[in-house]
């Protein structure tokens, strides 16, 4: 391009100048678009927080759309005690923690085999796991419901002796349902780990288990952390399994117990808002502290490698 005559040069620099102008106009437009969208997007949350901070008698007197006279955390404490929320949080812990650990444990095993060996059944295996995770829950719920009513488990695991209406039942289905996604993500991740590491281990005569536990898993820590964040949020947020497979109200985890809360505080929106926001606290903590992990998990799932 050194042969350009001065005339062309000037034309080019003019083009660059107009482009620069366009770009800066574009920037302003982009900012405006994002600012407006963001404002709209956070309105429902801000409104819920605002409502939850106002005393009931103030909003009933002046209406919800009014300037605040008092702001108080009283609604939060009332909702917390009246709805016995600690109990439901504990239910959520009892379901989410084992399910996340089991799903990650099983998935890493399968992913390791698929990623590290060339068995004929690798592809069918991947299909079984991945497709299982994509099915809508309602496709399996009808037989699953009957299965849960039929399977007897020791009373130490479930007080009524059935998988139905028990924490164990929810742990099982959440694990089974999420494991497919984790297999998919982890096997892709493990395939990116250089083979040389494994070969070095083979020369040293390491067993399969050592290769898995001591060599592969530690290298997968970033992927496991991202998946753990994602799964915790998803299982904690699950609504459907708990609604369909738990019949005793006070065995429900907190997300599905929101339906009860709604009935209980139906006349008092301030209390409802406060109670609902309390249930968001764990996911908001994840959001603030582990946002990077969460997003990393999502993008691992949508991209290969």
């Amino acid at each position: 391009m050194t042969a350009a005559t001065p005339v062309i040069d000037r034309a080019a620099s003019q083009a660059v100048a107009t482009r620069a102008q366009k770009v800066s106009a574009g920037r302003v437009g982009a900012h405006a678009f994002l600012a407006i969208a963001t404002l709209l997007w956070i309105t429902p949350i801000v409104w819920a927080i605002y409502t939850s901070l106002r005393p009931y008698n103030e909003t009933s007197k002046y209406g919800y759309l009014s300037w605040p006279r008092h702001l108080t955390f009283k609604n939060f404490t009332t909702a917390w005690t009246q709805a016995d929320m600690i109990h439901y949080f504990w239910n959520s812990v009892m379901i989410t923690v084992p399910a996340v650990i089991l799903a990650l444990g099983f998935a890493s095993c399968v992913a390791f085999v698929v990623a590290r060996f060339n068995f004929w059944f690798n592809v069918p295996l991947l299909i079984i796991f991945t497709a299982g995770n994509l099915l809508p829950q309602q496709v399996v719920i009808t037989p699953l419901y009957r299965i849960y009513l039929t399977i007897h488990v020791p009373h130490a695991i479930s007080s009524n002796g059935l998988l139905y209406d028990s924490y164990a039942g929810l742990v099982v289905i959440n694990t089974a349902f999420q494991v497919g996604f984790c297999v998919f993500v982890l096997s892709n991740y493990m395939k990116t780990i250089p083979h040389e590491i494994k070969e070095a281990a083979l020369i040293d005569g390491a067993s399969v288990w050592t290769q898995f536990w001591k060599l592969t898993l530690p290298l997968c820590r970033p992927a496991l952390a991202a998946l753990a964040t994602l799964l915790t949020t998803w299982i904690y947020n699950d609504f459907f399994w708990a609604i369909a497979l738990i019949s005793t109200g006070n065995k429900r985890p907190i997300t599905s117990a929101l339906a009860n809360l709604q009935g209980q505080f139906f006349v008092n929106q301030n209390l409802l808002a406060a109670g609902a926001l309390i249930t968001a606290v764990p996911t908001l903590l994840v959001y603030v502290i582990l946002q990077r992990q969460f997003i990393a998990g999502l993008s691992l799932g949508s991209s290969k490698g």
């Binding site: 409502t51 309602q138 496709v139 067993s207 809360l261 709604q262 409802l272 946002q291 949508s302």
Partner: protein, 317 residues
């Protein structure tokens, strides 16, 4: 994405070597391997695939759940006939599911992609915008339903108060009016879906080789052309993933309508009808299964699309 791992094309020699290695596994290693695959596999087969197949089989039977498996009677395609001709909520539910899908496809997903494209320009404060937009993805759908009730509530809600329709004579009952409530709930659904797509797409965009874009710019393409002619085609794999997620999420829709009014009065969805036929006093298992099969057949389209794409990539690496 386009596989980031340096594509290991197995030469015939390498492949032979690997196969030999499998044969040289010790007996103990083989046992360990079969447990590592076997236990998770049995779990998924028993709790996911067996019920999925059973749904199909049960859909051709009549069973109210009482009297064990011997009480199951074959019933031909009666359940399907009945659903289509003699079950009033069926067609509205199908219509609502389709509308849900269409709104996700033409509104939520493109909007999410637009967010991603604009955020990808790395403006000042883009992280802040991204974090705030992303917030709804963290919340459970049940919670989203409740938060939006505070917006939509006829007397006390933000929306009616702002537009001045909160008086007794001119109330708009956003969630109660069967002509409006599906749209109102769809706004809630999009509120969560758009940032979800945004995050996925942003990850894809970040991975696009910047030199591609520079080359397009040098060739005199504007931003619009660069995106559609250069970036979008490169992102084909992630476009498929997003398409699959969009379809699946719209078939799974359940929580929002269930928390809003139990899925009645304008908010019927297939997922709700299935649940209603198996959970509760009267169990119509065959019938519920038939509805499940309808959902299954529709969902197989995106699932197969996704698998075909994955396998094609698998072969390439």
């Amino acid at each position: 994405m386009v596989s980031a791992n340096p594509a290991v094309v197995p030469s015939p020699v390498a492949r032979k070597r690997r196969r030999r290695r499998v044969r040289t596994l010790s007996a103990r290693d083989k046992v360990v391997l079969s447990f590592m695959v076997g236990i998770p596999l049995l779990g998924v087969l028993f709790f996911i695939w067996f019920p999925a197949v059973a749904t199909v089989l049960l859909s051709f039977t009549k069973w109210n759940g009482i009297g064990g498996l011997s009480a199951i009677h074959s019933d031909g395609v009666q359940n399907y006939v009945q659903a289509a001709t003699n079950y009033p909520p069926f067609w509205p539910a199908v219509r609502h599911n389709v509308l849900w899908l269409v709104v996700f496809l033409v509104l939520a997903t493109p909007l999410g992609m637009l967010f991603a494209v604009v955020l990808d320009r790395n403006l000042r404060g883009s992280r802040v915008y991204q974090s705030l937009l992303f917030l709804p993805v963290m919340l459970s759908l049940a919670l989203i339903g409740i938060i939006w009730e505070l917006i939509y509530s006829p007397n006390y809600g933000l929306l009616n108060n702002v537009i001045g329709r909160s008086g007794q004579h001119n109330l708009i009952d956003w969630l109660g009016n069967p002509n409006l409530n599906l749209w109102a709930v769809l706004v809630e659904a999009c509120w969560r879906q758009a940032p979800y797509v945004m995050v996925l797409y942003l990850a894809g965009l970040k991975a696009v080789d910047p030199s591609l874009r520079e080359a397009a710019l040098v060739d005199g393409a504007n931003a619009w052309q660069t995106f559609w002619r250069v970036v979008f085609p490169v992102l084909r794999p992630i476009n498929v993933v997003i398409l699959v997620i969009t379809v699946i999420e719209s078939l799974r829709a359940f929580d929002l309508v269930y928390i809003t009014n139990g899925g009645n009065n304008g908010l019927e969805l297939l997922s709700v009808l299935i649940t209603r036929n198996i959970v509760g006093q009267v169990s119509r298992i065959g019938f519920g299964s038939a509805l499940g099969v309808v959902l299954l057949v529709i969902s197989l389209v995106p699932i197969v699309t996704f698998l075909v794409m994955q396998l094609r990539q698998e072969k390439r690496t």
